[in-house]
Each structure stands twice: as C-alpha cells, then as structure tokens.
Amino acid sequence: MKIITGSRASNQKEAVSLVFQEAGIGIMSLDVVDMFVSVAENAKTSAEIDKLIGTSVRGRYGNKASWRADRWFVPVPKLQFQGKDIHQLVIEVSVYLVAAAVVRTADDSRLITVAGPVGKPEIVSIPMVFLHALLENDLGRFAMVARDAGYTTWEVPGAKPVRLPNDFVNELTTMLKYQSVVSWLCQFGAQGRCVASLVAGSLIGLAFQDSSQTAPANKEMVTAENLVSALESLAYQPAEARELVRMVASRLRADMTLEEAIRLTLQGKEWNNNG
C-alpha cells in the first residue's frame, strides 16, 4: 500500500480520480466504474482491510501510532481481447482501496491517504458468442449451470463454463439497450478503444455467420484447427497433420486463406523431404 501525505480524497469521486492516477490509467467513465461495484463490494472484508491499513500505518509511523480512516473501494477494470480458440473479451478487475486516515503518534497527528490494490484481481471473461446472444436478447440459448446471489455460470459450447457477476450482466444488458458495444468500450478509455475494433468485428462475423455460405477454401481464413482438418481430409494422420502445421507455424499469417496455408504446408513438407 502506498502512503501519500495529506488528505487526498474526501468522497468516492476523488477516490476514483486518485486511483486512476496511481494505477496509471487514463480517462475512464464513472459509469464503467459503477458497473463493477459489485465486484469491489466482495473485497470488503473489513477486518482484513483494517489489518492492511494498520500494517501500513505502523510500518511508517511506529507501533504506537493509532489511526482512524474513511475508506473507499474503487474497481479498476483492464480490458483484453483473446482470440485463441474462442474469441472472448477478458476484463481483469482489480479493487483498489483508498483510505483517508488521521494518524496519531506520541508527538503529533497528521492526515495521510493510503492507496493500493487489495485482494486478487477478478477475471471476468465474456465470450463473443455470449455477448452476441446478449445483444440479440437470446441468452436462453446457453444452459445455466449454476447461480447464486452474486454470480451465474453459463454453459457456452466450445468453451469453459462462463461465470459472470449478475449485477454486471444486468448493467451491461441495460447499457447495450441504449448504446453500441463500441460506445460502451470507448467508455473504458484508450484500452477500450484498442479492443473495440476486434470486438466489433467478431460480433459482426457472428451476426452474419448464419447467412453466409460455407466459404470455399480459397476464401476461408486459416486457423490451426481448420488447417489440421483439411490435412486430415487429405489422408494425413491427425498426429502427422499437427506436426506439419507445427513445422510451418512460423510462416503462417492470420490473413492467409486456408488454400494458401495448405499450399504452404505441403511445400514445406516437400522442402523437408528434399533437404
């Protein structure tokens, strides 16, 4: 925990500004912070928090120092788009504590502000198919595996079960009724802007997936899976196919079509045989 001299926060808003400054995050909408309040509330185990503040205070001002503090918990989300296996938006939510404390020592008393992350960051992973279903108001297509007062776990085909905070899902559903996903992501600031195009592209792809014809190999984009499948259909053994893909993996490009990838893989095999 970092100790800053002086009282740097007197309300939640000032606490949020201080945390953004300490965490090195640019401008972010307060609406976004509010979406993760339920996550922050889970971090409020007051005995542990008191212990943390006490440790910091005594570490700085000695064992005889006594203190009294107002405290705020600020969730700080960090976005990430994962495109491996199944596309998903990953939000890592760290909860920061801001405590404006009055510390009394034998000699004097002073105002300080204690700020820093508490607990382990919580990971909220939203598969694109889930987000697409949420936009289509069709969450019923996923089986509900578990639910309690705070969280619901969904069965998403092709992915691990997705556990999401109920409040967050409700907030997100409400928000996306009035604004686009891109607008919502842009509220996260620069990090939201970074992933907005990928999320939007993925959602558009999902939206048009049903209407599109099965692409011929010369148009379909390559992935490791469809390349292995294609090689298997060319009478290679699965292990052999995976080995071939591994050998040409360094030369594969994400924007290659499946046809180009198959040609490259087979050429690579011939070079190895000749070499």
Binding site: V182, A196, S197, L198, A200, G205, L206, F208, S211, M221
Partner: protein, 356 residues
C-alpha cells in the same frame, strides 16, 4: 471520444469477422457503417417502409415507384420554379398596384389642393377688382381735388400756368449746365442782400478776375487763419500743461505744510500736557536708579477688588526696598504694569536718561 474506426481498425474488425463469416470483407464493413448511418436517419427508414407499403398495398414495384417519384420530383421542381416566378410576378404586380394607388392618392390630393387654390385666386381676383374700382374712383376724386387745389394755389400765388411751365424750363436749363436748383438759389441768395447785386458781382469779377480765383484766395486766407489758430491752441495747451504741473507741485507742498502743521499741533499738545512734570522727570533722572515697586499684601488685594483706591500700594524708591513703606508688608514685586507699558526690561531697577 470519436467512435469512428480508422482504416487500420476497420481492417482488424473485418479480419475478426472473417473468422466467423469467411466471405466478410472490408467493403462489407463499410456498407454496414453506411447502413448504420442511414438507419440513424429516420427519413430513410420511413422511405423504405413507404416503398414496401406501396408494393404490398398498391402492387407498384420499387422501380416503378422510384420512376414515378423521379417524375414527380421533376414536376415538383418545375412547379416550384414556376411558383417562384409566379410569386415574383405577384409581388411585382402587388408593388405596381401599390405604386398606382399611391400615385392616384397623390394626384387626388393635388386636384383638391389646386381646386382650393383656384377658389382662393377667384376670391382674390374679385376682391382686387372691387379694390381697383374703388381706387379708380378715389383717384378720380383726388385728381379733381388736386386740380382745384392747383387752380386755387395759382390764383393765390398770382401765377399762371405759363409761369409754372417757364419755371420748369429754367430748372431744366440749370440742370443742363451741371447745377442744381438749390445751388442756383444759394448763389442767388448771396446776392439777394445787396440792393445792387449785379454791380457788386461785376466789381468782384473786376477785382479778382474770376470767381474761381476769388474762391482760391478765400481758401488760402482761410487756411492761413486756420494754421494761426492751431498754433495758438498748441501754445495754450503747453501753458495749460505747465500750469497743471505747477498746481501738482503746489498741492504736494500744501500736503507737506499740512503735515507740519499737524505735527506742530501734536508738539504743542505734548508740551501743554507734560511740561508741568519736567521737574519730576529731572529729579528722577538724578536718581542713581529707580525701583517701581508694588506691595502684594493680600488684604490690600481683596480690598482693591471692592475699592480701587484701597488696592495694593505702588511706590518708587532709589534703593532696593525691604518692606512696603505704607503697610510694612515684606513681600514686594516690581510694578509690572509700568515696565510693560514702556517696554522696559522687568525685574530690574531703572536708570532714567533724559534727551538733549
């Protein structure tokens, strides 16, 4: 923050979309964005819905609808142009009508004014005609009266009309020679006092040669007389100036003499007032020193309040006094009033010095 994607972001989005929808291209993305922009325009949706309804309810296809719409739009444009031209024409006509109306009003007012003016002129003319008739009658009467008066005057002056005509001719003759009747009469008056004016004029002409010469001589004589008078006036003015200076000097002397007389009067008054006390002053001047003293006995001070003759005693002595010579009171003081009066230095005995 601007939510529009950059070209790079559009490429990323299209690549991501191709994972799920392999045929998806960047153009498709652009089309979607265009569609989004159009959907945001409520008019666009209304137009699309209108076309669908047209096709469903009237059986008119979109193409026919568009052709009809295009035709109608052209007609509308043409009609709008005509409307604007007609509007302009209407405005022009309205302006012309207003101008004509204003002209008519102005001319109507002018006619009324002219009619009134004509009536006034007619009235003036009638009045003038009546006035002229009256004036003619008056003139005729006046002419008759003047004729009668002339006749009467001629009769009283014992002159005839012929004489009047002759006088007119004389006047004309005088003026023809560059004179005026008044000048001629003046010249005639000069000789009017003389019984034999004709002889005198002849003598004057004989003596001076001509009237002009006589007049020149008269002018020279008058000029000399004038110069003489001017020199006399100047002499009198210088005499006046000298007399004024003398008068001022005498006034100054008189002032000094009056001051001397006043001073002498003061001396006399002084002498009358102080001469009897000369002996006292001589005696005091013989003293080695004089002490002007005053007793400060409190009883005398109190008594002096009620009776001035019983106040503190004053006394003079030639030696420092030890006590009041009257009451024997030992506390004494210099008589400050005397010292102050003469401006002498107090608290010291005085030596009186008399002048020569």
């Amino acid at each position: 923050m601007d939510n529009e994607f950059t070209a790079e972001e559009i490429r990323d989005a299209a690549r991501m979309a191709r994972v799920h929808c392999p045929g998806f291209s960047e153009d498709d993305f652009e089309s979607l964005m265009e569609l989004e922009r159009r959907i945001n325009d409520s008019g666009y949706l209304e137009a699309v819905l209108g076309l669908i309804r047209l096709e469903e309810e009237k059986g008119i296809s979109c193409t026919e609808g568009l052709d009809a719409c295009e035709k109608l739009i052209k007609q509308k444009t043409k009609l709008e142009q005509e409307v604007s031209a007609l509007k302009q024409r209407s405005i022009d006509l309205s302006t012309q009508m207003n101008n004509a109306k204003a002209d008519y009003e102005q001319k109507k007012e002018a006619v009324v004014r002219v009619t009134q003016e004509l009536m006034r002129v007619r009235n003036d003319y009638s009045a003038a005609e009546k006035g002229l008739e009256a004036f003619n009658r008056q003139t005729e009467k006046e002419k008759q009266r003047i004729s009668a008066e002339v006749e009467d005057t001629c009769r009283r002056a014992n002159i005839t009309r012929d004489e009047v005509i002759t006088a007119g001719k004389i006047k004309e003759e005088i003026e023809r020679h560059g004179f005026t009747p008044d000048l001629a009469l003046g010249l005639a008056k000069e000789f009017a006092g003389h019984k034999n004016a004709r002889e005198q004029l002849a003598e004057g002409l004989k003596e001076h040669g001509s009237l002009n010469k006589y007049l020149d001589e008269l002018h020279d004589g008058i000029a000399k007389e004038r110069e003489k008078l001017i020199s006399e006036i100047r002499s009198l003015e210088s005499q006046k100036k000298a007399i004024t200076t003398e008068s001022r000097n005498l006034k100054n002397t008189l002032g000094e003499l009056q001051a001397d007389v006043a001073y002498e009067e003061d001396l006399r008054r002084f002498h009358r007032r102080y001469f009897p006390l000369c002996g006292l002053l001589d005696e005091l001047s013989n003293w080695h020193q004089v002490f002007f003293m005053r007793c400060t006995h409190p009883a005398s001070t109190v008594a002096g309040v009620f009776d001035s003759t019983k106040g503190n005693h004053h006394f003079w002595t030639d030696r420092p006094p030890a006590a009041c010579p009257v009451c024997g009171y030992p506390v004494l003081e210099y008589d400050i009033k005397i010292y102050n009066y003469h401006g002498w230095q107090t608290q010291r005995p005085l030596k009186i010095h008399l002048g020569e």
